[in-house]
Amino acid sequence: MREKILTFIEKNSRIDLKELAIVLGVDELTVMNELEAMEAEHIICGYHTLINWEKTGIEKVTAMIEVRVTPQRGMGFDKVAERIYNYPEVESVYLISGGFDFMVTLEGKTLRDVSQFVSDKLSPLDSILSTKTNFILKKYKDHGTIMAEPTKDERMKITP
């Protein structure tokens, strides 16, 4: 049941409880209880909105920063990650396998904002060995959603 609820609301978190219950074929109370439980367990961590900022005319710059670090004794990567993710400018932090350690996404108003954050805040952190900043030029797909215009229904309107 949880998987069904999550699969559905991952795509559409705005559906109301009653409808969700109908669509999943269970009673409303069950859905409500499950949702509350999953919120409490922090399985559901929020109900965000996917925005295509590009179309608003509001300037935003996003960068993906590859970060190499030396893990701290006794604490591994987690402590370093914490130092990074506590900055509100930081969108996401992932521990990555391969050529570097963390993938940090960062959102700022301008290029200068982002580079300043990297040079003033991120790089000087104790355990950081190096950073490589990649600016995002265009977002094609995010959270499983293609950012381009939604396609029209091209089917013939009536078919047998």
């Binding site: 559906i15 669509v23 089917r155 013939m156 009536i158 047998p160």
Partner: protein, 390 residues
Amino acid sequence: MRNPLSKRIVEIEPSGIRKFFDIVNEMPDAISLGVGEPDFDTPWHIRDEGIYSLEKGRTFYTSNAGLKELKIEIARYLQRKCNITYDYNHEIMVTVGGSEAIDIAMRAMLDPGDEVLIPQPSYVSYLPCATLANGVPVVIELKAENEFRLTAEELEEAITPKTKLLVLPFPNNPTGSIMSRSDLEKIAEVIIKHDIFVLSDEIYSELTYGEESHVSIASLPGMWERTITINGFSKAYAMTGWRLGYACGPKVIIEQMLKIHQFAIMCAPTTSQYAAVEALKNGDDDVARMREEYDGRRRYLLHRFKEMGLECFEPFGAFYIFPCIKEFGMTADEFATKLLQAEKVAVVPGTAFGASGEGFVRISYAYSLENLKKALERIERFITKLRNKG
């Protein structure tokens, strides 16, 4: 000048759906619930295989019966899903959609005067195909009280010494009705007793929503040798435009069907066949995902009709729901026309699928939930007005 036309063709009625198609097309802002194909795009990995086959220059004919690789996959699929065994080499042929399979099966099996039993409401092409094959179509009018299933009694009653073939269209378009194993066992007995054949159109076999998944009549004892099983990729994998289906059955019949196919068609589209191999190999998850989504919409519609007090049996197959509109004292055609004029929602009158569809309309749920919600609000407003007037 002489009349250029064949009398037999001229006498065939054009599809009843045509009239609606023309009206709806003039209305750009109409919400249509009249479509008989999935709203999903073909899953990308399947499209990708089609593209890849083009890149590789696989642009030639395949053998008449289809790519060997595809026939092997079809055989595996039918074994796995429907528990029927077919030899890919002689008992399976790939066709241009299920439609071609229906046509050539009838042409291969019927002699002039042979009667073909066609349960209705059902897909629009069985009857004209039977006529074109020189057969005599005999309609069995399915009943709402049986949830539009075919009963052994109805079948028994329709059989005459001339009966050759029964068309078995389940899961059904337009009613959404299915035949369970026990339903099928009952009619199989009658079929065997009277020594007739079955053309089982199972194009919606992947889209069932009950406890029991689809049962193929060919998997029942004594039925394999008298059944042509028709299926395809259109509904299960959202591949309508690829035009790809298949027919399976005893070699003696497939062999003759293949002859017609060979001369009339040559082979099914090569690109589609390569894509279909991928669909059968790696498409199970896609089918499951789409089925799940249809099922949610189905539950939603049922619930809404109950709220509106509109009589409707629970459909367990395909992507149609078939509510009863008899309470409004008008024909299905009138209802659909007025609904379109008043609220700009297009549904298909049940009579487009046979006279026994009178009093019902077909609503397709091959639409997003958002769309269905909007359309249902309009339908609710429409029937509330009708009730208040009456």
